[in-house]
């Protein structure tokens, strides 16, 4: 029995009931509402929090009031005295729970497809001064999604009416109308390869700004729902890493209730507080995006960098605590 194994079993014992509850909630609410909705976030949070709590309660060096803390510190090796094994055990238990949750949630998420932001050619604005705007695409398209920012109208308010064409062929019978900011318009395409999308402002007084993700084309190729869901849920391990690393760093100065409050706060800030990749990954998964094309890597890297900082702090505090 090694520290990793013991922590893994212990964390799994805590996280499994939470996972069962989460799976049941996801399945029940998805059947009732016919969409995965926001429940995926809550369902993923519960097992992760349970596993992190179990790790901090199990390994005595996570808190100043752990039983026989010094005995464990003496028996285990520097610099982390088993904290890293306990954290790793918790993360592996969480990963297993996330995979179980992915299996339960996969039938209810939209089939994932790659989404590409179309790049505007020239000024990304449609207004009186520039009534035509083109986007470079160069890919097969199943859908075109437009979500521009509506700016202040020139003169009397009249919704902007826009004609949309793909490689010179109109794809709408009537001009589409925009009267609010970030109003989503989804235009189906037949899955053929499109080189260029052209927008033409027909009438209206509302200038439309097409920023980075205002025009998105959706690929006709479908990906695995299970894989997409699993990837999104495994991104939830990133906040868990940071929360456990923070607990490692503060283990020498805080008692268990404080540590658990810290872990909970760190998880909430990174998920509900959107300070990290987890919220975006789950939201994108629930909207049918294929994560590898979504550019989440910088956000994941930033969170892992923070984690590395906490681990370094843990190493220094443990070294300072040596007799």
């Amino acid at each position: 029995m090694r520290t990793f194994h013991a922590a893994f079993v212990r964390c799994l014992a805590w996280a499994l009931p939470a996972t069962a509850l989460s799976c049941a909630a996801v399945v029940a609410t998805s059947f009732a509402t016919h969409s995965i909705g926001p429940w995926l976030h809550a369902a993923a949070f519960l097992p992760i929090a349970a596993s992190c709590f179990a790790a901090t309660a199990f390994w005595p060096l996570f808190a100043t009031d752990g039983d026989a803390r010094e005995w464990v510190r003496r028996a285990t090796r520097r610099p982390f005295h088993g904290l890293h094994h306990a954290a790793l055990g918790s993360l592996c238990a969480s990963a297993l729970c996330m995979l179980a949750l992915a299996i339960a949630a996969a039938p209810f998420v939209p089939t994932p497809r790659a989404h590409h932001a179309a790049q505007p050619i020239g000024r990304p604005i449609l207004d009186d001064a520039q009534t035509q705007l083109s986007f470079e695409v160069g890919a097969a398209c199943k859908e075109l999604r437009l979500r521009p920012i509506a700016m202040l109208p020139h003169g009397e308010l009249a919704p902007a009416r826009v004609d949309v064409a793909a490689d010179g062929t109109r794809i709408t019978n009537e001009p589409i109308s925009f009267d609010g900011t970030r109003q989503l318009v989804v235009l189906p395409l037949d899955g053929r390869r499109v080189q260029r999308i052209e927008l033409r402002l027909v009438r209206g007084t509302i200038p439309l700004l097409f920023d980075q993700h205002a025009a998105v084309v959706v690929s006709p190729d479908t990906e695995s729902s299970l894989l997409g869901c699993a990837m999104a849920l495994l991104v939830m391990l990133v906040p868990a890493c940071a929360a456990l690393a923070l607990a490692m760093a503060t283990g020498a100065i805080a008692a268990l209730p404080v540590q658990q409050a810290l872990v909970l706060t760190a998880l909430l800030v990174q998920t509900a507080g959107q300070a990290g990749p987890a919220d975006a990954a789950l939201t994108l998964c629930a909207r049918g995006h294929w994560l590898p094309t979504e550019g989440l890597l910088p956000s994941i890297s930033a969170s892992l960098l923070v984690t590395a900082g906490f681990v370094l702090a843990a190493m220094l505090t443990k070294k300072a605590a040596q007799p």
């Binding site: 309660a57 199990f58 026989a68």
Partner: protein, 282 residues
């Protein structure tokens, strides 16, 4: 070669804010040979635990030096050679007793099979085999103490540092522990045990150190400290006439009859007899 050697060792905990510094141990010298059992006595706060923590490498001395098996107490190789049993509950109380011992064996570098075998042997020795699959948090205080001692003995240590090893144990459990410690000492281990149980220290220890306010108030072997040089005689089974004859004989030999009382069993012996009967019934 001394198993433990202490020269002018002192420990002072620095004051913080308005709290004054505390001198937990004042310059202390000590030598302990292999095979000796040292009982450290003293009131609460006299420095017993601090002394054990220094020897376990968990507390740096403020002045002086301590050597255990000719090495600095915090030398990594001593983790296996020197066992330390703290007061208080065992760690990882969510695991069962066997798992705690297996885990500790793993930390000592024992192979899995060896750790399993030793865990089972010590569980049986300390009569914990029936509870080996129960979570340690459900153990009674005495069972937890026995488990901690079993863990301490897993690595066949050459030095044992024990903080209240028999605290919370019933007489039978206490005797199990004392037997195990006696056996370790006979095999050459040096043992330092802090205790408040004077009778057990008297039964088990070869040496005694009495600490008071961090100073060594008294130290030496039990014979040196308690022996008067005279011999005593215990006689059992006499009636009144026999007592009178014995008293006269004793006085003729220059001795003195101190006390004459009706013969009865000690409570301890009664308890042991009862415990033995219950065990047989089980």
């Amino acid at each position: 070669m001394s198993a433990i050697s202490i020269r002018q060792l002192s420990v002072t905990f620095p004051g913080r804010f308005r709290r004054p510094a505390v001198a937990a141990l004042q310059p202390l010298d000590l030598e302990l040979e292999k095979g000796a059992i040292l009982g450290v006595l003293g009131p609460n706060g006299s420095g017993k635990t601090t002394l054990l923590r220094v020897l376990a490498g968990l507390q740096s001395p403020t002045t002086g030096e301590a050597n255990v098996l000719s090495l600095s107490p915090d030398h990594p190789s001593l983790v296996r050679r020197v066992a330390w049993q703290p007061a208080g509950p065992p760690p990882l109380a969510a695991l069962n007793g066997r798992q705690v011992l297996q885990w500790f064996g793993g930390q000592l570098g024992l192979a899995n099979a060896e750790a399993d075998a030793r865990a089972d042997a010590w569980l049986e020795r300390f009569e914990l085999q029936d509870s080996r699959k129960r979570a340690v948090r459900t153990y009674s205080t005495g069972m937890q103490r026995r488990l901690l001692l079993a863990a301490s003995l897993m690595g066949d240590p050459e030095v044992l540092l024990l903080d209240e090893p028999t605290s919370g144990l019933d007489p039978v459990g206490s005797e199990l522990v004392m037997d195990a410690l006696r056996e370790r000492a006979q095999r050459g281990a040096a043992i330092v045990m802090a205790s408040h149980h004077l009778q057990e220290v008297e039964l088990l220890c070869s040496h005694v150190l009495v600490l008071h306010d961090g100073k060594a108030a008294l130290r030496g072997t039990l014979d040196e400290l308690l022996g008067s040089g005279d011999r005593s005689l215990v006689v059992r089974g006499l009636d009144d006439a026999g007592v009178a004859i014995a008293k006269a004989a004793i006085e003729r030999a220059g001795g003195q009859l101190v006390r004459c009382e009706s013969d009865r069993l000690h409570l301890y012996a009664l308890y042991r007899r009862l415990a033995g009967r219950n065990k047989q019934a089980d």
